[in-house]
């Protein structure tokens, strides 16, 4: 009993101590080591792109590529280029993520997925020739079922259902890569996994943008470009009394080509009574209407967002002392 009691009490004490102090001792070092995370204030919207023409060509390429996976030796080179291609794929098939999980070898497959995309264009030319078998396969590819059939033999048992649901293109890509990777080197797989992960995130992000959401806000860089354009033409009324307090809002109606169709003062009443204000308002209007600073560099695809906008001229920064 005593021994049991002793052990019990010691354990309790240990738990209490841990609860009180926590287990920070080991972690403290790690925290110190961690480098600060640098956050760049770049707007997420940078990726927005128009619906790409590339999607159409890809299926063909992929078909050709399929033969490549079988050769196995060449899958390695693929991983490096992955970054650029992901975008187009995403546009086509937003569903890549779900596919991976169902399959028993999800990780490997996923890893494989990213690399194939980038390479396809380059590899296509070289690889298709070596093996006649793959060529035969590509022909049937246009149809989803055919592809599935091909895949199955290569990899072993895998659910055709998933494949069917997914876009044929993506599936093909995934299948080729997964097989070669596992056989050759695990390290590469890991790398490819990371890339795959990044790609997936990119895809997830891109998937939302696919429909070309015209209601999206302009990015900071896009707004900055316009801001600087107008600033070059804005002759600030310096020296006026309380010039730093003269804030002028002008609503502009834009043409799709970035030129100003119409511009109105938002507080035209004040212009009548206040000479300084009228001067400031007119100087702002001249900045807006000055043909030297047009057209504004705004993305046409977001025209709905900047069709009408308000330009607020605030000279305060210029008179900061």
């Amino acid at each position: 009993m005593k021994v049991a009691f002793l052990v019990s009490s010691l354990l309790h004490i240990a738990i209490v101590v841990i609860a009180y102090f926590g287990l920070p001792f080991f972690k403290s070092d790690e925290l110190l080591v961690e480098p600060p995370i640098i956050v760049e204030l770049v707007t997420v919207d940078e990726e927005t792109n128009l619906p790409e023409t590339p999607p159409a060509p890809k299926p063909e390429e992929q078909a050709k590529e399929e033969p490549k996976p079988e050769p196995k030796p060449e899958p390695k080179p693929a991983p490096p280029p992955p970054p650029p291609p992901p975008a187009p794929e995403q546009a086509e098939t937003p569903e890549p993520a779900p596919e991976a999980p169902p399959e028993p070898e999800p990780k490997e497959e996923i890893a494989a997925i990213p690399p194939p995309e980038p390479k396809p264009k380059k590899e296509v030319k070289k690889k298709p020739e070596p093996k006649p078998e793959p060529q035969a396969k590509p022909k049937p590819k246009p149809k989803a079922p055919d592809r599935l059939a091909q895949l199955k033999p290569k990899k072993k048992p895998k659910p055709p259902d998933f494949l069917a649901s997914m876009s044929s293109v993506l599936k093909d890509l995934q299948k080729r890569d997964p097989k070669p990777a596992p056989k050759k080197e695990p390290e590469k797989k890991e790398k490819s996994k990371e890339e795959a992960f990044e790609n997936e995130i990119a895809k997830a992000l891109a998937s939302s943008s696919k429909p070309m959401d015209t209601s999206r806000p302009l990015t900071l860089s896009e707004i900055d470009a316009v801001r600087q354009q107008i600033a070059r033409c804005w002759n600030v009324p310096a020296g006026a009394k309380d010039a730093e307090n003269l804030v002028i809002d002008i609503r502009v109606h834009m043409n799709p080509d970035g030129t100003v169709r119409k511009a109105d003062h938002l507080s035209s009443v004040r212009m009548l009574g206040d000479g300084f204000y009228r001067t400031a308002a007119e100087s702002a209007m001249r900045a807006v209407l000055n043909p030297r600073c047009q057209p504004f560099k705004l993305p046409l695809d977001k025209y709905d967002r900047w069709k009408t906008m308000t330009l607020s001229f605030n000279p305060r920064e210029m008179f900061g002392q």
Binding site: N235, V236, K241, G275, Y277, R278, T279, M285, W306, L311
Partner: protein, 444 residues
């Protein structure tokens, strides 16, 4: 009932839809422009058109004076006439704005001169906003032909006011001390000229020393100090009549006379028994009132534009500094706390700033500060810069600068103008050395 409910729900839906659309409209893109540039506005001043050679000559002269005035302000950049695409601008017709935009003109001045049957000159002008394609102002003046230069200044003032929101200052004059002769036998005469240097003439013959001329804010009158028969006294000189009047025979030395804003009084410092104090004097009653009582030196008083306060110079704190007090002499408060010594405070006609001369480490500066002593800014510096005077619109300052010439102690003094922003410093051309400028109010 059912239909009623449906209608109700439809109505609610419509309301929601309206609110949503309104909400999205309010969330429209807004871009803050916080940076611009400060540079002269390109303006095209065409020759004013006349129907005969004489009228055209007046027109060309007027246009060039207008352009020169605007250019000198530093806020406008008249475009070279050779760049004009549309030369003949009939004042009755709408200008071809596209032609003016091509040469970057943002404003356009066109005009016409005409000799009336009674011998007077009719000058008409219009100011156009080239981008907005609208007339900003259009006026016509009648005058005797010899007065064409003044009409040009008045037109420049009208353009300046319309474009900047501030009163112009081109139709003004400068009175200053013209200096000639060697350093030992310096002859100082009172001289006057238009603000652009034209129509220069001497007001005194130089037999007696004259100092510190100051313009009346309302009349074409000048106060100044003259050592007539070696007795320093304050005089008033009427420019139009040429009449000179002794303001008063004060015991001791009187210095730095300056008009009150309504022109009916003078404020000055007077030295009695080796101590100078500030006095004000009503010009109508000649009643003198003492404002300061302090054993230290108080001098260089200047009224605020509303006459409620006076800024002056005193060493009561141990060194020369700027003080502000009520116009009855109460509530004396020091406002200059920077390094160095401060002198010659002058209240802006706009009321928002006080200009001063500052001495620090052997260098002189012209600067401005707010009446509460904050926001000190130095605009100009030199071996000797002194005597700031405000343009009537409180936007431009004039001062004189003395620079050594050679090794024999010779100096040359020149008058300069500078914008309140510290830009656009320009020398005012004078036939001889010039010091102690005083800017007139707008000529009535």
């Amino acid at each position: 009932m059912m239909t009623g409910k449906k209608r109700l729900s439809a109505f609610v839906f419509a309301l929601i839809a309206i609110f949503l659309t309104v909400g999205s409209a309010q969330a429209e893109l807004k871009i803050d422009i916080t940076q611009g540039k400060v540079e002269p506005l390109p303006i095209a001043v065409t020759n004013f058109i006349g129907s005969n050679a004489a009228e055209s000559a007046y027109g060309a002269n007027i246009a060039s004076v207008v352009a020169a005035d605007l250019e000198r302000s530093g806020l406008f950049r008249p475009i070279d006439r050779r760049a004009f695409i549309q030369h003949e601008t009939a004042i009755g017709a709408l200008p071809r704005f596209g032609d003016w935009r091509v040469i970057s003109a943002q404003a356009l001045v066109q005009g016409r001169t005409e000799m009336a049957e009674d011998g007077r000159l009719r000058v008409e002008f219009r100011l156009w906003d080239v981008f907005a394609e609208q007339q900003m102002i259009g006026l016509a003046y009648f005058t005797i032909p010899d007065n064409w230069r003044r009409v040009a200044h008045i037109i420049a003032d009208a353009i300046y006011k319309r474009m900047t929101g501030e009163e112009g200052y081109f139709d003004t004059r400068i009175v200053y001390i013209a200096e000639s002769g060697s350093a030992k036998r310096r002859v100082k005469r009172l001289a006057i000229m238009d603000q652009d240097g034209a129509k220069h003439r001497f007001l005194t013959d130089g037999t007696s020393l004259v100092l510190t001329p100051r313009f009346s804010p309302t009349l074409q009158e000048i106060t100044y100090m003259s050592f007539y028969r070696n007795v320093p006294r304050v005089y008033i000189f009427n420019i139009d009549t040429g009449r000179q009047e002794l303001l008063g025979d004060f015991p001791g030395m009187t210095f730095a006379p300056r008009f009150s804003p309504d022109g009916n009084g003078v404020i000055m410092s007077m030295a009695k028994d080796g101590n100078s104090e500030i006095y004000s004097m009503d010009l109508r009653t000649r009643v003198v009132k003492r404002l300061t009582r302090h054993p230290s030196i108080d001098t260089s008083p200047s009224f605020a534009p509303d006459s409620s306060r006076v800024t002056f110079n005193s060493d009561r704190g141990g060194s020369q500094q700027i003080y502000v007090m009520d116009s009855d002499g109460k509530n004396v408060k020091r406002i200059s706390y920077g390094k160095g010594r401060y002198a010659t405070p002058v209240w802006s006609p706009r009321g928002d700033l006080i200009a001063f001369t500052k001495m620090l480490n052997g260098t002189f500066y012209i600067g401005v500060m707010k009446p509460d002593g904050t926001g000190e800014r130095l605009l100009a510096k030199g071996y000797l810069v002194e005597s700031p005077t405000w343009a009537p619109n409180g936007r431009v300052l004039m001062f004189f600068r003395e620079t050594p010439v050679g090794n024999k102690g010779e100096v040359k003094t020149r008058i300069f103008s500078i914008d309140l922003t510290g830009y656009n410093e320009r020398e005012i051309k004078t036939p001889v050395d010039a010091s102690d400028p005083a800017w007139s109010p707008i000529i009535p």
